[in-house]
Symmetry: C2
Subunit: 85 residues, 2 copies
């Protein structure tokens, strides 16, 4: 079994109002050293697959079909094998 | 300067309806090998700080004060130094 950690972020050319709002709120709280705040989604899932390659294919397909909007968003998948005790 | 990558996830004891809905939708799409879907937030930011320790302190404080709800959520911070070219 594999654990997938997926981040889905808006493409850098797309405005991120949620990030801008957070950045503004942080600056109001005195965090002057923080900039370029961007907010995305984080998805964790367990994938049962024969191999790391199969697991990656399943995760890529799930991102392309449901989790990310490929017009506006990029995704990044990290997979870790979980060895049953 | 440091780039912070922060994931904010619901604590495992807290129900995650968004994750459940995604899991259900994935299963409807035929992804039978995916389970335990949980959805959180992903935050990227630039932090200007003297040291990695200072940057971590700023990021921790931003999470505690604004980005995460410490009653319901956990956060995990990864920091990378960016060397100006």
């Amino acid at each position: 079994m594999y654990k997938a950690n997926i981040t889905v972020t808006l493409r850098s050319s797309i405005l991120d109002p949620q990030g801008k709002a957070s950045e503004h709120a942080l600056s109001q709280l005195g965090f002057d050293s923080i900039s370029q705040v961007r907010i995305g989604k984080y998805v964790e899932m367990d994938i049962v697959a024969e191999s790391l390659g199969d697991a990656r294919e399943i995760a890529e397909s799930a991102c392309a079909k449901l989790l990310a909007n490929s017009v506006m968003e990029d995704y990044h998948i990290t997979l870790n094998e979980v060895v049953a005790a």
